[in-house]
Amino acid sequence: MNTRPVTALTGGLVGLALLLSACVDPAGKFNDFVDRAPDAAPTPDAEILSNIPDVSGRFLFSLSSVVDVDSPFYFIATNTLHPTMGGSATITTSLQPLDYLKRTPVGDPIDFETEPVSLTGQFELTATNVSLPGAANPFSDSTVELSQVTIKPTIKNPNLYCGEVTGMLTSPLMLDIAGSTMGAVRITGASDGSGGMPDPVSRCPADPQN
């Protein structure tokens, strides 16, 4: 039995099939997009302050993630600023997550260690693991898990501090959130919320006095 013609014709069919096959390369398209897309802009350096504004009290704290600046996570920050020798200070902060839609407290507060405030008004808050309930998630109802979170605000005036946020989102998606921003605006109403909330600020404004 001579099977040579079968092999030859089959090889021809296969070769033709290979030539005509629609080649797709989704990973290549992804890399092309990454090459074209811009990176997050760096924050300008802060200036040395004559005195550190007292940001003690309650603030509407907005964390604008790098994936969508228009959909921030909201918290109430409760701060206590402690002046120290040499014009510097320390700050103790707690962040209470808020329901994204209702802006009411949801879940447990996140308490940070007391941290020093530099002469430029900068301080750094760190948390190894952070869990935010689904109601606080502006994108979906999923619980949000973050790790190695670092918040680096600069105090601009007694009613405002703002800066950058870094860390890793670990659930529902693995995502490096470096480039995310935050802003905190003083809440002037009563502690029961009857005075209403200020307009949120989720990044440093060009003119922090306004």
Binding site: V6, V14, K29, F30, R36, D141
Partner: protein, 475 residues
């Protein structure tokens, strides 16, 4: 030895090729065998369409077939479909009016495709027995959409160059490669052939689409920073399924066949892989995910009659239970055991897995019917033709450029010629005529939360031409 090489070659090729896209319904693309592929066939494609047919011929046969074709498609998206169109002169997040063409207009694709079918069938020298092995791709599709040249090199809107359909598909392929071993036996007293096949299935999904964090088509946030990103999914699994069938021959000239192909994995299966994302200004990142990937079972029935020796008439149909395809849900690998639970509005339920993104499908069962005829000009030359209709599995609410399906008609012509002793060459040309589909712009998002997608309103057109070129060697 050459026979072994042939099989290995066919397996290797099947594992590397994108499948054809001459769809019956959904992404069922089982058209191998051309006009010989049906539930009363004795062609090698019986290994899938009805394994009972394997016992209705004798000897040993090798089948090698290439299905070659071209698919063209277009999607016109009206400006009214843009989620948040920001009028020129205004500011805010969304699609700036000056670049509305980044999210509206016409997207096109024109892709050649090829897919193999290979099988070896034998009676092993035992009367009334048929056994076979085969490799083929019954489910799948591939697409690579054309670029929107208007946005080539545009740094402000770097995603728009990938076309207005990019929120659903930029490029990708889905395929389920079947390797089947089947056996059949003909009961002479009952004039009945019974067959069964065991399928080992490798399913792969590789797709990229544009995506932002809130499931809209917004290009920029209110401060002008980019919102558009990308989601790249690469996932696969191995499963098994079975096919069974029967062919009854009440009289010499009449064959009645029924068959059933079970769902891969017999129930909804999860593909495992990675989701790579770049959202907004974030750096690219990878997440280990599981993709809920239900595939349907298929019922087939058909009748073949030979009113005169030179003429054969066929009518057959299939019923595909696409209604099992409810959601294509991507969940974190670590929580997949809880299962993807999505409510009617598209929100993830708290007792289910952590859902990263969900693409609602909510498909419906679909059926198709075909009729055909063969005429033998001589014992060595057969000509045939066929007509068919296949319904669409995809309702308006979830139709999108990622998987386009429409009601469709098919027309086929072909011939099978004995080109040498023991060797037959078959060719079938099939033209698939798809009916145009139009969706009006929606007032509100169809699905919420994790299931929200941009408005897929617009006009869908598609055309597929297929040429099956097959070789049979009999000995």
């Amino acid at each position: 030895m050459r026979r072994i090489n042939l099989t290995i070659l066919a397996v290797a090729v099947a594992a590397t090729l994108a499948p054809g896209v001459a769809r019956a319904s959904g992404f069922l693309v089982a058209r191998f065998g051309g006009e010989q592929g049906h539930p009363t066939t004795t062609h090698g494609s019986a290994i899938y369409f009805n394994p009972a047919g394997l016992a209705l011929t004798s000897g040993t046969r090798i089948y090698a077939e290439g299905m070659f074709g071209t698919r063209t498609a277009s999607y016109y998206r009206p400006t009214a479909a843009i989620d948040n169109l920001v009028p020129e002169g205004d500011s805010g997040g969304g699609t700036p009016g000056v670049v509305s063409s980044a999210n509206s207009g016409t997207a096109t694709l024109s892709n050649p495709f090829a897919a193999p079918f290979a099988a070896v069938v034998s009676d092993l020298g035992v009367r009334n027995l048929g056994v076979g092995i085969g490799v083929y791709v019954p489910f799948g599709g591939a697409a690579s959409w054309d670029s929107n040249s208007e946005y080539t090199g545009n740094d402000m809107y770097p995603g728009a160059v990938d076309g207005v359909q990019r929120w659903w598909s930029i490029e990708g392929s889905i395929q389920s490669i079947y390797t089947t071993a089947a056996v059949s036996y003909y009961l002479p007293e009952a004039r009945l052939a019974l067959g069964a096949g065991l399928n080992v299935i490798r399913t792969e999904v590789r797709t990229i689409r544009a995506r932002n964090a809130i499931g809209t088509d917004d290009l920029v946030a209110s401060d002008g920073s980019p919102q558009e990103g990308r989601a790249l999914l690469d996932a696969h699994n191995m499963t098994m399924s079975v096919g069974i069938g029967a062919i009854w021959q009440p009289v010499d000239a009449l064959f009645v066949g029924v068959s059933y192909q079970s769902r891969p994995n017999f129930k909804t299966t999860n593909l495992k892989g990675k989701l790579t994302t770049k959202l907004g200004l974030s750096a690219p990142s990878e997440t280990d995910v599981a993709l809920r990937w239900p595939l349907p079972d298929v019922f087939r029935a058909g009748v073949t009659i030979r009113p005169v020796p030179r003429l054969e008439l066929r009518v057959f149909g299939d019923y595909v239970r696409w209604s099992v395809v409810d959601d294509h849900c991507t969940m974190t690998m670590s929580t997949m055991s809880r299962g993807c639970k999505i409510d009617d509005q598209g929100n993830a339920m708290s007792d289910g897995a952590t859902v990263v993104v969900n693409i609602p499908r909510r498909w419906k069962d679909a059926m198709g019917v075909r009729m055909g005829a063969s005429y033998w000009l001589s014992s060595a030359r057969e000509i045939f033709a066929g007509l068919g209709y296949d319904g669409s599995a995809i309702p308006d609410e979830t139709l999108g450029p990622d998987i386009i399906d429409q009601d469709k008609m098919t027309a086929s012509v072909g011939t099978r010629i004995e080109v040498a002793r023991h060797m037959r060459l078959a060719g079938t040309f099939t033209q698939v005529f798809y009916f145009k589909r139009q969706l009006a712009a929606r007032d509100e998002p169809t699905f919420e939360g994790i299931s929200r997608t941009p408005d897929q309103a617009g006009t869908y057109k598609q055309s597929v031409s297929v040429f099956n070129l097959g070789l049979e060697y009999l000995f």
